[in-house]
Structure formats: structure tokens, C-alpha cells
């Protein structure tokens, strides 16, 4: 039996506007730019892909199933800038063949810096998903599939999730295959789903690469590769960015046609089926324990966190951000807290990455900056403004208290 488990990650960051050390206003986010990108991606990817998924689900009458991870910050943007996308997600949710996964609302690296805020963000995301799509996420994926034993244990302790997802990196699996359900080391109930990066990346990265010897990739060829897993594994986890369809791989590469024919080809084999992550978790027992003492992610060839916190600027920026946590929360000012959280979106740090800067590469995708240095400067200017707001807030409260104290005192009668 080989189950195909599709999970698509949909996310757009809230990009910052150009902000100099001389700016004083508090509108940190480039609404115009973000709206334009959101609408563009909606038209090229979210809308056509959602419509196609809906069509496929209806056509296969419950045999084609998929899962989505949609970040809170994307949902906010879709609702403001491309509301028509929401109705297609609604329709998908109603089919009963679509599962929605849990994650941090702000697509943040908060697990590494503040467990407290991490938990708040996970809860906020779950309740948002529930309110829009009527289902509570049961499977968790951390930002960029960043993962280690500690995260698994923490997620298990919450009791909110049945399974967690991460990258099927070679160095954590050794000789083992990603095509089974595993158990994270130190967990008793939580199960672990691992991305089959080879087959996932055939679609997500190599699909339109004409230098690839398997080009062009057709649905029946891909189905043959999946069939090979029969007897060697239970599940093929195909995890990728949703923007693969129409945005990373443009429509004229034939990506939508590929997707259109894929369920037919997969289901031709009588032992194959499609399962959502929760169904996978319920169908297969864990085969073995996987030990991940060090952080891994699905990024780049290193499969580590160096794309976000690998250089001095990134590390400095993120430490300064989380150092503010207490001050920020003390203000109890909703707008300040929300701005602080939006500054946690991992993309802000990704733009400061110097690893691939010289060669360009995937890091350029909708990157609003000319260089990682510009990204850092802009971020730090905004962060220092936010810090100032915290302190002003404190002063303001002091003044207010003084004022109220004075009012409450009975006026002294001057004789």
C-alpha cells in the first residue's frame, strides 16, 4: 500500500516599507507592495490552483485528498487584498477532503527564542483556522519545517496535536526511508511525518529544469516512481510550497496539466491512495524512533537554520527583537504587540541572508531589498522605533497615573 500525502504550504510575508533612521511614523509595513504581490500570487497561483484542486476532488469523489498549511499573516492579507481566494478555500474545506495544519500564526522562529510567545502564536493560528474552516488542526508543522527532539516533546506536551511534520533529511534517517510513519525520540504518543524530499523536489524545484535528465516530467512517469514505493514504504509525503503551482513553476511549464493528470495516474495502481496527514497518522503505526538532537529545516542544501540566523546581522536582529518581549508585553498595547509579532515573520531574517547573495538564487523570490545589508538596516531602524514606542508608552502611563492620582485627591481648600 502506498499512500500519497500532499501538503501545501501557503505563505506570504508582510514586507516592510523603506524606513530610515529619520522616519518617525509607525506604519512599518508596505501595504501597497504587499497588496500588489498578494493579488499577483492570487491570480497566478492561489485561485487557479484552488479551482483545480476543487475540480479534482469533485471528480474523484473523495479519493483525492490534500492538506494545507496557511499562515495567519497570509490569511490576513488574502482577506484584505484578495478576498475571492477565501471563498475558494472555504469551498475546499467543505469538501471534507482537505485538512488544515497547525503552525505559528506569524510564520516565526519563536520556538527558538520564546516558548511562551510560540505557544500563543500556535493557539492563535489554531483558533483562526477553526473559525474560518471549521476544523481544529491536529497535525503540526513548524516554520520552514524547523525541528528537533525538543520541539517534538514540547508539541506532545501541549496535547493539541497527534503528529508533527519535518524534513526527511538524510542525516537524521541514515539508511531508513522517509516513507514510513516514525516516532520522535522522547515522545510517547506523537507521530512524525517526514517529507520525501526527492520526490517533492522533483515537482517543486526540478519540474521545469530542462537540464534535468528526467525533463519533461509527466504525471504517468511520476506515478511510476510513486509505485516503486509499494512494498518499501507506506506513505509518500509530498510537501511543498503552494506557490510551486503557477508562481515558482509558471503556468506555461505545464505544472497545472501535470497536477490535473496526477490523481488519475496515481490511482491507476490499485494499491495506491491519497490520504491527509491525519489519516496517515491513523492508518500506520510508527516504524522506528527518529533522533534529531540538532535543529533541521527544509531549506537549502544544508537543511539547517543558517538561512535565517546564520550571519552576525541576522543573529543580532533576532536577538534584539526577542529581548524586547517583556517590555512589549508590559505595554499591553495591542498595536505594539501585533507589530512586534509581525516583525517575527521569518522572511525578514531570510532577506538578510548572505549565503547565496552573490549567486542570486531562490532567496530572490519577491525580495524587496537590493542586498542583505539593506534588509538589516531597514529592519533595525524599525525595531529601534518600536523600542522607542515601548518607552514612550511607559512614560505615558506614568503621566496618566500621576494625573489620575491628582484627580482622586480631594482638592485642598485654600483658606
Amino acid at each position: 500500500m502506498a499512500s500519497v500525502c500532499f501538503y501545501f504550504q501557503a505563505h506570504q510575508p508582510m514586507r516592510l516599507r523603506h524606513y530610515t533612521v529619520f522616519d518617525k511614523h509607525h506604519n512599518y509595513f508596505d501595504d501597497r507592495g504587499n497588496a500588489a504581490i498578494c493579488r499577483k500570487v492570487a491570480n497566478k497561483c492561489y485561485l487557479p490552483a484552488n479551482r483545480l484542486m476543487l475540480k479534482l476532488i469533485r471528480k474523484h469523489q473523495g479519493r483525492f485528498k490534500i492538506a494545507y498549511g496557511i499562515t495567519g499573516v497570509l490569511l490576513e492579507q488574502i482577506i484584505s487584498f484578495a478576498p475571492e481566494v477565501m471563498s475558494t478555500f472555504d469551498a475546499l474545506a467543505e469538501t471534507g477532503c482537505v485538512e488544515f495544519l497547525g503552525e505559528t500564526y506569524y510564520h516565526s522562529l519563536s520556538f527558538l527564542y520564546s516558548k511562551e510567545d510560540f505557544l500563543e502564536q500556535v493557539k492563535k493560528h489554531s483558533s483562526t483556522i477553526e473559525s474560518y474552516f471549521g476544523q481544529k488542526p491536529r497535525v503540526f508543522r513548524n516554520t520552514e519545517l524547523i525541528y528537533n527532539n525538543e520541539l517534538a516533546a514540547f508539541i506532545e506536551s501541549l496535547g493539541l496535536f497527534d503528529a508533527i511534520i519535518t524534513e526527511g533529511a538524510d542525516h537524521i534517517l541514515g539508511y531508513r526511508s522517509p516513507d514510513f510513519v516514525y516516532r520522535p525520540k522522547g515522545c510517547e504518543k506523537l507521530k512524525l511525518l517526514l517529507k520525501n524530499y526527492s520526490l517533492s523536489d522533483d515537482i517543486a524545484f526540478r519540474f521545469s529544469n530542462r537540464d534535468w535528465k528526467q525533463w519533461p516530467l509527466t504525471a504517468d512517469k511520476f506515478a511510476r516512481w510513486v509505485n516503486k514505493v509499494n512494498g518499501n514504504g507506506n506513505v509518500v509525503n509530498l510537501f511543498m510550497d503552494y506557490e510551486t503551482f503557477g508562481e515558482h513553476q509558471w503556468k506555461d511549464t505545464g505544472i497545472f496539466d501535470f497536477l490535473k493528470h496526477l490523481p488519475d495516474e496515481i490511482l491507476k495502481h490499485p494499491d495506491n491512495d491519497f490520504k491527509t496527514p491525519t489519516e496517515v497518522v491513523n492508518s500506520y503505526p510508527p516504524m522506528d524512533e527518529v533522533d534529531v538532537p540538532n535543529l533541521i529545516s527544509w531549506a537549502d542544501t544544508e537543511r539547517d537554520t543558517s538561512a535565517w540566523i546564520g550571519n552576525a546581522m541576522q543573529s543580532n536582529a533576532i536577538h534584539e527583537l526577542y529581548r524586547l518581549e517583556d517590555e512589549i508585553k508590559k505595554t499591553a498595547d495591542k498595536k505594539i504587540i501585533e507589530d512586534w509579532r509581525k516583525l517575527q515573520i521569518s522572511d525578514h531574517f531570510y532577506y538578510m541572508c548572505t549565503k547565496w547573495f552573490a549567486d542570486g538564487d531562490v532567496h530572490k523570490y519577491f525580495n524587496p531589498y537590493d542586498s542583505p545589508y539593506d534588509a538589516y538596516i531597514n529592519y533595525m531602524n524599525i525595531l529601534s522605533n518600536l523600542k522607542m514606542r515601548c518607552f514612550l508608552h511607559k512614560d505615558l502611563k506614568k503621566v496618566q497615573r500621576l494625573f489620575e492620582n491628582r484627580k482622586s485627591q480631594p482638592e485642598t481648600v485654600i483658606a
Binding site: 530610515t20 533612521v21 529619520f22 550571519n311 552576525a312 546581522m313 543573529s315 543580532n316 548572505t354 547573495f357 552573490a358 537590493d370 542586498s371 542583505p372 545589508y373 539593506d374 538589516y376 538596516i377 533595525m380 531602524n381
Partner: protein, 432 residues
């Protein structure tokens, strides 16, 4: 391969990047085994007089002693021609310096001779005539030399190079380090423009120091793009002899932002000062150092005073050799706000000395540097924003410095020389 190279200046007698470039390029060529005969005008009188052995070179040219001991230049020989031509000078400057010279030699009030053939007087009345007199002398000199190719640097040498090419039939490469549009903005000197244009049209191949300059040649001079090759400049690695800071005698409790270059319209000194004023509105412990001389030096000092930042801006005058090294060691940041910079070697030197750089996008060097902050020269707010960021955030300074220093090591003169050699070979290979 033997090259007859015509230049304007050569270290240590330099006033700008051209001399540095000629030195780096010829030294690297010498290491490739290319024999270079370097012809340059020799200042008979002027600021450098004390350094120069005043063996007045005859108009026939002489092997120059003061250059002969230069390290790594065994394949280079020098021929100098007595002439007051100075790079980057203007006709007005030329006239002034001639008048100064006449004053000193007691020939004032006499009419400036118009006849350059007059023996014993090594100058002509105006700059253009002088350029042509220089051409004739160089032409004379070339008769005694053996060479395969002529390589001329910037407009003043073009008439000489064209004449020699005409006389000998050898192929001509003109190298363009700076155009009249870079130096003068829209107020171009028509005669210089004409000389440049004639040089570009007479040349068999043109070497531009950047795509930025190549585009100027195409759009402003109508030169066919296929004729122009881009060869980036390199940087001479000074080694790792980091001087301890105590030696420079400076206490570092203040940040230092450096402008190093000629103080002329082209280099954008006023944008530097405007940015400085903006920086000082949010930061106090900063000093702005302007190292260099030029026709806007006085105006710039006045401007610093007008902006109310006179006490925060230091003017050092023109620096050379060890002084340059010292100033780099003191600096926390180098800023090049050039209005139009064909290449710009100074930022590479700054990076080589571990100083991070902010460079204008209107420069050739911004094509080759990735690990530099880039700004539009007119955007003083953004220049100030970036200056403050570098001074305020050590991680930014460290990252820029580390990657920048690594990056600059890849820009070697040996690469530039190899590219030139390839161009020579192509030109000398018979067609078909």
C-alpha cells in the same frame, strides 16, 4: 609582446586613480612577460619638484631614473617628456600653472611663446597646443622604440597615440578611465570632447573601465558597442601589515567617516557634507574626514561652515603613501558619493584595508562589488541613513568588512592585465 603605453601620471607622482591604475596594470603586465615602454609627461615645475631629479629631460625624452627602482616592474621602462600637462587639469588651471612657472623663472611679462618647437622651453601657451606639442614629441620618441601595439590612457594622450599609430601603422588601443561627462557633468569642454571622440574613432579597440563608462561611450559619443571591451580595475594588495593604532597617535572615542578623493564636482563632496549634517542630527560622536584636494576644496570648506558642521569636518589635504594607510586605519566607514564615477579604485583600497564602504550607484565599481552599501548620490537621506546604520550596528560593520575584504581579493590586477593581453592578441592575430 611589446607595448608602447602613453599615460599621464605614475606613482609616486599621482593626483588620482589614473596613476594607481597605470601602476597596477603595468606591473601585472610585466609579470605576464609583456614589455611595456611607458611614456608620460614630466612635470618640470610644480608641487613635486623636490621629489624629482631636475635633470631637465630634453624634448627627445630620456630614460627616467626615478622610476627605475620600482619593485616588480622589470619589464617596464619609462620615457618622460618635459611638459606641464597634469591629469584632471582644466585649461584655466593649466594657464595658472604656466604663469606661476613664468613668475619663478623670471620670465613674467614676456609673451607666452606659441611656438612649441622653440628649443629649451618645455611648454606651450595653452593646454590644447600643449597636448599637440606633447603628441609631436611623443611621436619623435616613438621612432626610437620597438613595439607591437599602442595603448593610450585618457584623452590627453590620444593625439599622441593617434599620431604614432598613423606613423607606424601599429594597432591602437585607447583605454578610457574617465570621460569629459564624468569630469564636467553637462558642461563639457568641446575641444576635450572632440579629442576623446577622435581617439575613440581612431582606435582599433577601446577598453572601458566599466559598463557604466561603456554606456556613456555608446550614448554620448556614438561609439559602436562592439568596439568596446570592459576591463575592470583591480586593487593592489598591501599585505597584512596592520599598523597598531597607537602609531597614528589618534585616540578613538569618536567614529570616523572618510571621504577620500579629489574634491571636485565629479566626486560629489557636497552630498557628503549634506549627509554628514543629517547624520549629526541624530548622532554626536562622529567626525567626517575629507582627504583630498581639488578645485572645490575651498568651496567645500565654506559649505561645511555654512551647514554649521565646521567643527565636525576635518580637511587633510592630499594624502599619499603611508598617510593614506593611516587614514584608512582610523576610518570606520568610507563613503564615495560620486556623481559619475567610471570606476573608483578607492573603495577597493578601503575594503582592502578593512574599511566598509558606501558607494554611489553611479559608479563602475558598484558593478563589481556586492558586499558594499549602494546609494544614489543625490539621496542624502539614504546616505545618512546608511552611515548611521554602519556606525550604530557593529554586526553590520563586521559583516560588510569580512565579506568585502574577501570579495576584493578576487579583483586583482593580474586579471585585468590578462584581459588586456587577450585583447592585444586578438588585435595582432591577422583576420582570416
Amino acid at each position: 609582446m611589446r607595448v608602447l603605453m602613453l599615460g599621464w601620471e605614475f606613482p609616486p607622482f599621482i593626483s588620482g586613480g589614473l596613476g594607481t591604475a597605470c601602476y597596477g596594470l603595468t606591473k601585472a603586465m610585466s609579470q605576464l612577460g609583456i614589455k611595456v615602454t611607458f611614456v608620460l609627461p614630466k612635470q618640470v615645475d610644480g608641487d613635486y619638484a623636490t621629489h624629482v631629479k631636475l635633470l631637465t629631460p630634453g624634448s627627445k625624452g630620456a630614460v627616467s631614473d626615478e622610476f627605475s627602482g620600482l619593485e616588480g616592474c622589470k619589464n617596464i621602462s619609462f620615457r618622460t617628456i618635459g611638459s606641464p600637462l597634469r591629469p584632471y587639469s582644466t585649461p584655466e588651471f593649466y594657464r595658472q600653472s604656466i604663469e606661476r612657472m613664468l613668475e619663478r623663472t623670471g620670465k613674467k611679462n614676456k609673451d607666452i611663446p606659441q611656438n612649441w618647437q622653440f628649443e629649451g622651453i618645455d611648454y606651450s601657451g595653452d593646454m590644447y597646443t600643449e597636448v599637440h606639442r606633447y603628441a609631436a614629441l611623443a611621436n619623435n620618441l616613438a621612432k626610437d622604440e620597438e613595439f607591437d601595439i599602442i595603448h593610450a590612457h585618457d584623452w590627453m594622450t590620444y593625439p599622441a597615440a593617434i599620431a604614432i599609430a598613423g606613423l607606424t601603422g601599429k594597432p591602437l588601443v585607447v583605454h578610457i578611465h574617465s570621460t569629459e561627462f564624468d569630469r564636467s557633468g553637462e558642461h563639457v569642454n568641446q575641444m576635450i570632447y572632440d579629442i576623446e571622440k577622435k581617439g575613440f574613432y581612431s582606435a582599433d579597440k577601446i577598453i572601458a573601465v566599466s559598463h557604466f563608462t561603456r554606456n556613456i561611450l555608446i550614448s554620448r559619443y556614438g561609439v559602436p558597442g562592439g568596439k568596446i571591451e570592459v576591463v575592470y580595475n583591480g586593487v593592489e594588495r598591501n599585505g597584512t601589515d596592520n599598523w597598531p593604532l597607537e602609531k597614528s597617535g589618534i585616540q578613538k572615542d569618536e567614529k570616523i567617516v572618510l571621504f577620500l578623493g579629489r574634491i571636485t564636482m565629479q566626486k560629489g563632496p557636497e552630498y557628503f557634507l549634506q549627509a554628514a549634517q543629517r547624520v549629526l542630527s541624530v548622532m554626536d560622536n562622529v567626525k567626517f574626514v575629507m582627504a583630498g584636494s581639488g578645485d572645490l576644496a575651498h568651496r567645500t570648506i565654506e559649505m561645511a561652515a555654512e551647514l554649521g558642521i565646521g567643527d565636525k569636518v576635518l580637511f587633510t589635504g592630499f594624502l599619499r603613501g603611508d598617510d593614506v594607510k593611516k587614514i584608512y586605519q582610523m576610518a570606520d566607514l568610507y563613503v564615495m558619493p560620486s556623481v559619475s564615477e567610471p570606476f573608483g579604485i578607492a573603495p577597493l583600497e578601503a575594503l582592502d584595508n578593512d574599511v566598509p564602504v558606501i558607494i554611489s550607484r553611479q559608479s563602475g565599481v558598484s558593478e563589481v562589488l556586492v558586499h558594499a552599501l549602494k546609494v544614489d548620490f543625490w539621496d542624502v537621506d539614504e546616505i545618512a541613513n546608511k552611515i548611521v546604520a554602519v556606525l550604530k550596528h557593529p554586526p553590520l560593520q563586521i559583516t560588510l568588512r569580512n565579506y568585502g575584504n574577501f570579495e576584493v581579493r578576487k579583483l586583482r590586477w593580474s586579471e585585468s592585465a590578462a584581459k588586456c593581453a587577450k585583447i592585444y592578441e586578438q588585435m595582432l592575430t591577422p583576420v582570416g
